[in-house]
Symmetry: none
Subunit: 235 residues, 2 copies
Amino acid sequence: MDAIKNRKILIVEDEPEIRVMIEGFLRKEGFYRIYSAADSETALAICRSDKPDIAILDVMLPDMDGFALLTSIRQFSGMPVLFLSARGEDEDRLLGLGLGADDYIVKPFLPRELILRLIAILKRAYSPASSERLPVFNLGVCRVDLEGATVYRADEEYPLTAKEHALLLKLYENRGRIVTSDALCQAAWGDDSYGYENTLMVHVRRIREKIEADPSKPQCLQTVRGLGYKLIAKE
Amino acid sequence: MDAIKNRKILIVEDEPEIRVMIEGFLRKEGFYRIYSAADSETALAICRSDKPDIAILDVMLPDMDGFALLTSIRQFSGMPVLFLSARGEDEDRLLGLGLGADDYIVKPFLPRELILRLIAILKRAYSPASSERLPVFNLGVCRVDLEGATVYRADEEYPLTAKEHALLLKLYENRGRIVTSDALCQAAWGDDSYGYENTLMVHVRRIREKIEADPSKPQCLQTVRGLGYKLIAKE
DNA sequence: TTCTAATTTAAGGTTGGCGTAAGGTCGCCT
DNA sequence: AGGCGACCTTACGCCAACCTTAAATTAGAA
């Protein structure tokens, strides 16, 4: 289960032979969301509609050269780009001018090199460091920052403990839905969670003291008798 | 007057023929501060004494392989590195593991490609535009300059050591968020970080002695029991 | 080499989150 | 209405996680 292989890849190349060849390499490597275009116009349309994760651009295209295409793409997207260029041809422009390309490969190239550079770019661009984070969300009268493990309410800050954090995260991931006590115990104590029902109640109480205006009349973290708990979804 | 051509370049290559060839290319291109070494030991010595701006490393060396050499260099310098590798040989390691190499070239290569990639790296690493400088930031009662590795507090200067710097950088990059002990260990000691928990605590203590008014009552670098540490975000 | 500073190891001390338990309250069902 | 089971509420003691210090080790510089 490699997340990299789930990335959407766009190939822009006018020579059908090379295009099909690249598609073949990628499929053999395990990539399966492959788009291809033979001209800039089609390429741009695909970029807008399907939002690929990376583009492989040939420098020479019939209607617009690869640099112009990149400039157009950069109007609305910062997606990583890998250029294909003929030996010597535009190397100066490719490397000299910082066009925003992430790498380039000189034709003819070995499949292996293309794949490796592609994977390198994808890793760099989508490493967990730069990936999406948990949002700070509103919950009734308070704001919750799960990454900072802090609840803000009425000009006060309430830090969350480890268990509170685990439980609130599970509830947040399932906000608006009922989460069974079992599921919550599992989130906080792991698979061998048995006999923690009472403990869970205590933790729920502690969370309520932080997020609710009146912990005895819960508005956000509600009990669903016989089923579990649920976090009221907001926006 | 191109500042790039003033950069100091180190070539590490055991085969004299190739080494001399590369030197020739570089001189022809206008580079003139060229160091070369045939083995890792010499290379390390040059790195320490002359502090080149970039290193071109062959993967295969007589006394130590290029990866090990890079690891050694990374102990004291973040200089950019370009690898030379035989076709297919170590490509996976080169690109797969983020070893901290900036690029690589497969042998045999054209002089033109080496020069262009070299220039690209130098521009990326040293151009004022792309040199994303680390800001000097306020942290509670003190100011922290990560580039200068110095903390200023109460008319005093506290220099940061290497580990302190690595940890504080990681924390700063994730300010406001909890950073797990694991993540911190990884930032300071690399992927094979196991058994550094205690050491981490000692370093945290040291950092606190520099940035906190009262290290025993941390305001900036807080412990989140069971989860990790976090740096309080200020603006 | 020798000296210095940085880093790691080790050992004892501290504490706050956690789990337990006991009594209370509420809602549902007959 | 009354009983029962599900859930709430509070308080307290424990102990793992964390702190603190000092001494040992390592790495770098001269």
